[in-house]
Symmetry: C2
């Protein structure tokens, strides 16, 4: 059977043929293999809803099957067995969560076991705001798009018995429990329990609400439930013990761990059904309102067109010229990935759930969520501050809302739960950086207070465990924590540096001094013997014996979280000069830094060392190494293919690294308003700066020597030579033209 | 610690001391042992809500523990370990169902496992509309009362940490799944899945909604969830696998099979908290509206007073004088038990769920539910027609609503599900009986059509399986069914007799003849060899070998449901003369009937033979046997003690037997408007007949010879001798005085 492309879609194609827009360069399959954990499903800019193909359940997908291993994505490119489309998903995270509200179109009888109704698929297409495939088993063409809070699908059924299944049992999350009700022949509403991110904090599991609307009234509808299996004498009387039951025409709530609902049709001829699923983290009423406000009376094609339009507006904030088509694809896909998380938590009416206890609160701006800050404090928020400052401002405000609600700034916030994943105290770093870059329309006094709180509260401090030792000794010891005493000390150092910088700007001189001093306490962990950082025991002695390699490949170790001494020693971006001194000056520093790469210790796939290449800019005469390394790493790890992200995208952090690196600038010191410079990947990059925050200036980065591998010979800013390989944020956003050749 | 009785309560006591009212004679403990399956919790007249102590969970209650055996009641008098108070319950049924929405007051820490928080109890009091005990473990006094749709409790806590637990996991039903949300510090709302009555029809499981309000705002609240236990590799990462989690302050929905919510207080001094739980089978909004309309701004004491007032009005429709205090207690408790089921299904606003699919419908009168018709067609509805004709009229209308919604009259309807429990086609018998008694304010044409449908539709007939054989052969065979071919034939005969009687009244002469003929087809199953009924095989031969005793004690057998040939042969109340003829005349008939009792085959605890004693009235000169047997059976089986009902009350059928029998009248032929007469148990019985249906007449039954055991010497109606031992309904309701001496 052949499906015709819709007129609208042809239109998009024809436009793009004539002149490709940024949206046309995005390939959402990038990152869907190699544990990138992105998914190819449509999503609006920072959308709450996301219609992802779900192909990680069932033995057909082994070894990348969700229950057989740690797997944190609803979609893996090399898998083949699809069991539906999940409507809330996380992109580029390292823990399984969400991946629920699964829909699946089928034909023939109602089958509710996903292992039975699952299908292989072909003709897979993914573009910005659009996904499509054909389910081989049923010959159904599936298309999907999305608004901010609504997943929209179009199912092209062949003639005959057709079904749309809504499975609330299956999910990527390990949390269970749902409630579903068929409201009418065109509407289903329900609640699905999610939570326990990283198999942790189950007590903060929470509900996601949805309302599904169908463009065609079902000829039949119903719900199903697979109850738990009874044991004991009663099971003898239960002929139905543990068996799935189908409840045809049922119109009240059904509750359980393994339930679902279905709409059923009998078509005389091939027929399309459009389905819209509105999402809310507040209530069913809000899910319905979200659906109606965003999609009422709108067709799939119209919604798709608008989704792409919106994406194109955002992506066009940076225009690139020259460079290969592949580079453009890598670039815009990376930029696309930085615009997924943090995403929208609040409903159209401003309602959102309070942290943890989830009372309904109201926000004026966007309340963002999914703050994977240990990752994103390093570059993603810096990219936002530069290109999307309004969003960055709202993100900071969201962090302050979280502080208001929970008493603490976020660390790894997810849909109004603090998952407390990873280490450090990253929110303040982002806030200071944002403020120092001139984005100041938030309550900085409150922010400062919040930062001081986590930097000072010794007991019951969820952000800085071990703070007592850190303050008194200058570092965490192998007794303070059994995982990452050194790396956590470094994280606290960077956070303290950020406080110091903000204190200075705010005229808090004594805080500036105090935190400035605290910020370099990592120096006490520098061991001359190895010329690397090394954990100290409670009594001040070095951890002995000591192998600085231990900790590679995420191996758990006493000194470092997700890394080893090589991958962490240089992670003192605020005190590179101090580290140089410890190592004996610029030359030994550069040598040791080069060792990281030469000894194969550099890990592009995890955050601690991703700024390393840029550190060569601190050593006069060695800047060419930064340029070469960045260029090589881009070529090696960022590709136009499903495995085109070095590993977990970490909610856009890896992608932000690529975006910055390809533009030739990188925020090498997270709490300082400056960038390191390398050679860009494009002949011309135009950043359309924000009207409100940057007076709508246009920043152009030019390079005539992209093609050759020669080191940078000259940097001109507005035509004037620029001697350094760094540029301040202020100078950057006020420059018209930066020429790097 | 001593609790003071409230002033109101003392008031009730003082009034009753002066002159006992009918309510004061009710002992709700009657029937709570010996598998009577009534419960001592408060309930309004035909109430939807009922606050029953729940003492059937936990090994402490073995052998009468709910999961260790077939147990169909939330409360057993001899049990001692209480795990809460369930708010929707069935009374006098033979299958476990409902017994959910359990609340439990505790002190100290929050413990959510009922096996741990359960307690023994003392000072147990049960009266009409009131239950009270003291929980030994916590020294909490619990009091409970109810309106039609709201359970109302008063917990008297000692000083200190106190909790009210709302457990939605535990329940008598085998159905699981719930949804709960703490709305505020004074309100919790939720849904609990129930259904699968008699371990059957799980596909019709359905939700019950509730809203709980607390008179004091909780100092802390929360929810809990015990998830199912994961297996496989993921369980290694789940430190919380299968463990209960407490979610303090959580304010959104929590869904699961084993969940609950709690309100927590810290009292400076002993404090009372009142809790109201509104119930609905339609929606949360309706549960809230029920709660508000019935109890807003009303206190426990006021509600209790009104509950007792309402009960007294109903019970006072029959006033008895003379007789022992014990007899009065037995009588009024029995009458009380006939006013529990059928009970109210609709909300205060008239909403109720449609059969099976549960769309919301609206009713003008009361939509009754819990129609255990195989039981109640024999006498309970006859009692309603006589004493509470308005209710009986609404019950018939409810049956017609069920027909409208499902296409079939009810058989064993329970909260808008047809459980299809037991056999036969009993609704029509009741409808005909009601109509023939002059209660005619329902759509009799529709009713007649409905009766003809179940009597005529050969295929997919849920009421009369095996109808084809029944019509062509006159009986079901051992091939037609493997359980009860004879008894089901008898049930169909009675139902056909009812159609014939109604047809006659409506002038449908040919139907009258046809069904009159069909109604006596049981005669083909009469075997002269045994002088009893006997199953026939498909080829017409007798089932051989044949032991007419088999089937006693509910043993499953080919010929009879829940009985044997002895207990069923005389169950042809509409054709006693025909049966006499088969047996060789009145004398052999009386002898064979006497054999039933002499051979110990009579079973007072099950329906088929409960009219047997009255059949002696059909044999001139043997009427004394009826009188003696009824009197002896009342004395033996109906007592003022927990085991004071012969067995399962069968939603009031056993109680209705006692009520009629103690008044000296019994509706011996269910579809005929007449009664058999025996000697009453009271000197004077006054029935205040209904204004609307019986012009408010007062019927007095008198007897001067209650005390002696002599046979009846004379019956006078309005002073004139009455020669028969039967009386027509018409004559009865038009009589002023019936003297039986």
């Amino acid at each position: 059977m052949q499906y015709k492309l819709t007129v609208v879609f042809l239109l998009i194609f024809s436009i793009s043929w004539a002149q490709k827009s940024p949206v046309d360069y995005v390939n959402p399959f990038i990152g869907t293999s190699n544990f990138g954990t992105t998914n190819p499903g449509p999503i609006a800019v920072r959308g709450m809803a996301n219609v992802s193909p779900f192909n990680v359940a069932g033995p057909q997908n082994l070894p990348l099957e969700k229950d057989s291993r740690w797997l944190s994505t609803p979609y893996v490119h090399e898998n083949t067995f699809l069991t539906g489309f999940s409507h809330v998903n996380l992109s580029g995270v390292g823990c399984p969560e969400l991946g629920v509200i699964l829909t699946m179109p089928t034909t023939g009888k109602i089958i509710t076991d996903h292992l039975e109704y699952g299908s292989t698929y072909s003709n897979e297409i993914s573009q910005v705001g659009y996904y499509s495939n054909v389910l081989d088993k049923y010959n159904i063409k599936v298309e999907a798009t999305a608004t901010t809070r609504v997943g929209v699908s179009k199912y092209s059924f062949p003639a005959g018995e057709s079904n749309i299944l809504l499975n609330l049992g299956l999910g990527l999350t390990n949390e269970e429990g749902a409630n579903v009700k068929v409201v009418s022949a065109t509407e289903i509403e329900g609640v699905r329990s999610v939570g326990s991110f990283c198999y942790y904090k189950p007590e903060e599991a929470y509900p996601v609400y949805f309302v599904a609307r169908f463009s065609k009234a079902a000829d039949e509808f119903g719900v199903w439930k697979k109850p738990t299996t009874y044991k004991g004498v009663e099971s003898e009387w239960m002929g139905y013990n543990g068996k799935t039951r189908l409840m045809k025409g049922f119109t009240k709530e059904v509750v359980g761990d393994s339930i679902g609902a279905y709409m059923r049709y009998n078509f005389d001829s091939p027929t399309q059904v459009e389905m819209k699923i509105g999402i809310s983290y507040v209530s069913l009423d809000n899910a319905r309102e979200n659906l109606e406000k965003e999609t009422l009376d709108r067709t799939f094609d119209g919604i798709l067109l608008d989704a792409r339009k919106e994406w194109n507006q955002y992506l066009s904030k940076i225009e690139v010229e020259g460079g290969s088509e592949e580079d453009k694809t890598v670039f815009y896909t990376a930029l696309y990935h930085t615009l997924i998380h943090p995403n929208t938590l609040n409903d159209v009416n401003g309602d959102y759930p309070k942290m943890k206890t989830r009372e309904t609160l109201k926000t004026k701006g966007t309340r963002y969520t999914v703050f994977s800050l240990w990752d994103t404090y390093r570059n993603l928020h810096q990219l936002m501050s530069l290109v999307y400052p309004k969003q960055q401002s709202d993100m900071v405000k969201s962090m302050l809302q979280i502080y208001d609600e929970s008493g603490w700034l976020p660390k790894w916030e997810l849909n109004a739960t603090e998952t407390t994943t990873m280490v450090g105290d990253p929110a303040g770093i982002i806030i200071a950086d944002t403020y120092l870059k001139g984005i100041r329309d938030f309550d900085v006094e409150k922010a400062y207070k919040a930062m001081l709180k986590s930097a000072g509260q010794l007991k019951d401090n969820p952000l800085r465990p071990g703070l007592q030792d850190y303050i008194t000794k200058g570092y965490l010891t192998t007794k303070t924590t059994n995982s990452g005493s050194v790396s956590t000390t470094q994280e606290y150092n960077i956070a303290d540096y950020a406080i110091a910088q903000l204190a200075k700007e705010m005229g808090e001189q004594s805080d500036y001094k105090r935190f400035g001093k605290r910020a370099i306490s990592y120096r006490k962990l520098f061991d001359k013997e190895f010329n690397l950082l090394r954990p100290r025991n409670d009594d001040g002695s070095w951890l002995t014996p000591y192998n600085p390699e231990s900790g590679a490949n995420f191996e758990k170790n006493l000194g470092f979280i997700e890394g080893n001494a090589w991958q962490y020693t240089f992670m003192v971006p605020h005190d590179i000069k101090g580290l140089m001194k410890l190592m004996g000056g610029p030359k030994p520093f550069a040598q040791r830094l080069q060792d990281v790469f030469d000894k194969g210790q550099f890990d592009m796939a995890n955050e601690p060392d991703i700024a390393y290449p840029y550190l060569f800019n601190y050593v006069k005469g060695k800047e060419y190494r930064a340029q070469k390394l960045v260029s090589d790493l881009l070529d090696e790890h960022f590709k136009n293919s499903p495995d085109g992200i070095p590993g977990n995208d970490d909610t856009g952090t890896m992608s932000a690294w690529a975006v910055f690196s390809m533009m030739g600038i990188y925020p090498v010191n997270p709490a300082a308003p400056m960038y390191a410079l390398v050679k860009p990947k494009f002949d011309k990059i135009t950043i359309h700066l924000d009207d409100e925050y940057y007076k709508g200036r246009k920043l152009v980065i030019l390079s005539n020597t992209v093609e050759n591998k020669e080191p940078i010979g000259e940097i001109l800013i507005n035509g004037k030579p620029h001697k350094e390989y760094f540029i301040s944020h202020k100078k950057l956003v006020n420059a018209s033209k930066i020429q790097i050749d």
